[in-house]
Symmetry: C2
Subunit: 357 residues, 2 copies
DNA sequence: ACCGCCCGGTGAGACGTCTCATTACGGTGC
DNA sequence: GCACCGTAATGAGACGTCTCACCGGGCGGT
């Protein structure tokens, strides 16, 4: 068993209260007592029991974060930003994965509540609208900051990128490169941020005076096969094939690019390409992929800041903080060279790469 | 303030002990009392205070994991395996990042101790040998399982891949493809697993009857620039240029590949290539990269299993568990096509990709 | 009818910490 | 010499939970 303050007190020959005062530094203690206690701490290799302290003080110095899928590279980057900011301010971070399941997400949040975390960072699993009671229970007893995706109709602090504007920036770039037939492939539109990005797409086209062609709006998902089907069908159409493709997130973008490569369509040769998010190891790709880059680390750390501010001012009805961070556009090869796609329908020599299972 | 068992008791008209018995299910309770308590729980939306429970029972149901750098894709995969196994068994997982710093690592472990986690998963920051007292304090009061890299001279449970054998497998494959001049680029050799992998390299060569050429052992690091210098120097040498390159980890492998592409050397055209670990989004690379794949998810989950077993049998001097998982070789294009490198020293047309900052 | 037993239920106490009302003590000012 | 004051130190109590010794009462066996 680890040593306790009581044992320290016995060894140092002072009372338990004095030991506590030395440790917390809250009250003034004579230098001689201080030294005796510090010596005892060293001798016994004492470490305070944060559990007991939490019970007494009702402060756990712990935050929780729930993400839909920790293996998607985007989320660990956010986690790192959050972990860094949290620890800098003396907070622990408990990381949980909702596996994109609403019920699991609810379980995870309940667990964090039971653990008495002081606040929760949430990248919502998304999907359905929240029932009012779920929405209410969500923010009950400990503040929540939503990241990346905002659950609809939920009045809560949030930190995310200016999705609409960021998508607009990407599309505008493609237009500036001379493209007029620009397709967009999205993730699941049940997610609020995907809707925003799609809105950015149409907005950019309209501002550029290009009519929006519904046939170029490809409603995708995070599933490789589904995206592959959509893209291949969209690209191999007999006429009016888009000259550029924009993906509204990295998972979908990677799936799209991969599926088109498999049928022999390459960027920038056969189509210009840009995507939200870094495709990992991206600057090694030949060609490099033009990307809308989100400030992931900052998103995590800012979210922690907002959360801690909310924790501090819990009682006063502080107004909501809704932080919108700017994204940046990294222009690389995949969108650089304007290329008129060949009129031929059949893809170029299908040099499908060998791919052992 | 959240409701407590005492309030439940008052509302249900029973004693606090009965409430506790209903919640823990430890003792037998009449059906009528049970219902009254359950109703009260529902009415007050009660959630047990795990902090208080932990203090009382001396069990936190929490594990900690410390990794050197959560943004390296390898580690989140391990974390996910660990988180999954932990939660399945009713444990929380606190994730901390040591930023590859020994002192920060010590801080993080001390924090976890203070938080009274029941056990710790550690991917050591590595580097120097442990002082005896640090080694002793490391395993004091809560068990530790080391992952991936084993701190030298530390008698502790561990889970990692058969590094030597896995490297041997990779090299043997390159030899089978007809290569005899095979270079190896390593990470920092202060890490035990890097040493093992290098050992696998020499072992494979010797078994194949190929003399080990010290000039082909490139001691690298995780730094892009350093690796670039080493690889470019090694590959552009006037004579005896290797026909194949093996990287002992993904970070170094990606750096190597990237740096060689930058000077116009491509795989498999100019050299065969294989690497430890997946280069993320790898199966989209053209060409695909032959890789030694570690069972990351399983490493994380197995480590949790070992840790929980150790926790359960803490007292009995259980022998050490040292799990060695097999890696698999994913053969892709980068090593498939035997190619004799041209005798010319100057690299082919340097079509360095544009790379905006 | 009485004893013993078991079932259900009770409530005090302990886990390790912090807090706070209280005490002890020495020094100052009159 | 005494009242007063400020500084140190003290130790009981509370945080919410679980555990355990204890108790009342119904029931079966003798």
């Amino acid at each position: 068993m680890p040593p306790t303050q009581k044992e320290l007190a016995k060894l140092a020959g002072v009372s338990s209260g004095t030991v506590s005062n030395v440790i917390s530094g809250s009250s003034t203690v004579s230098e001689s007592s201080r030294q005796k206690v510090l010596d005892a701490i060293r001798v016994l290799n004492y470490q305070p029991n944060l559990i007991a302290r939490s019970l007494r003080t009702n402060r756990t110095h712990t935050l929780g974060i729930v993400v839909p899928d920790i293996t998607i590279p985007f989320f660990p980057k956010i986690i790192r930003g959050a972990e860094s900011a949290a620890r800098e301010r003396g907070y622990f971070l408990i990381v949980l994965d909702s596996e994109s399941s609403l019920s699991r997400e609810a379980d995870m949040i309940a667990l964090l509540r039971a653990q008495r975390v002081e606040g929760i960072l949430l990248v919502a699993a998304g999907g359905e609208k929240l029932s009012p009671e779920r929405a209410a229970s969500l923010t009950l007893h400990s503040p929540v900051v939503c990241l990346d995706r905002l659950p609809l109709d939920l009045d809560v602090d949030s930190v995310c990128v200016d999705d609409c504007g960021a998508a607009e920036m990407g599309i505008s770039h493609l237009m500036a490169m001379g493209h007029r037939r620009i397709a967009v492939i999205t993730g699941p539109l049940t997610l609020q941020n995907e809707q925003e990005r799609l809105r950015g797409y149409t907005q950019a086209l309209q501002q550029g005076g290009i009519p929006v062609d519904p046939a170029l709006i490809w409603r995708g998902s995070f599933e490789q096969d589904e995206v592959a089907g959509i893209c291949q069908k969209g690209m191999i159409r007999p006429s009016g094939r888009p000259t550029a493709l924009f993906a509204t997130n990295g998972v979908t973008g990677l799936a799209a690019l991969r599926s088109l490569y498999e049928v022999g369509l390459t960027t920038p040769h056969d189509f210009a390409f840009a995507t939200f998010d870094e495709l990992t190891a991206e600057d090694f790709f030949k060609p490099g992929i033009t990307s809308v880059i989100q400030p992931t680390f900052e998103m995590g750390s800012r979210a922690v800041e907002v959360l801690l501010r909310r924790i501090a001012k819990e009682t006063s009805e502080e107004p909501r903080h809704n932080v919108r961070l700017p994204a940046t556009l990294m222009v690389r090869d995949s969108s650089q060279h304007r290329h008129i796609s060949p009129q031929t329908n059949t893809p170029p020599k299908s040099k499908k790469p060998t791919r052992p299972r």
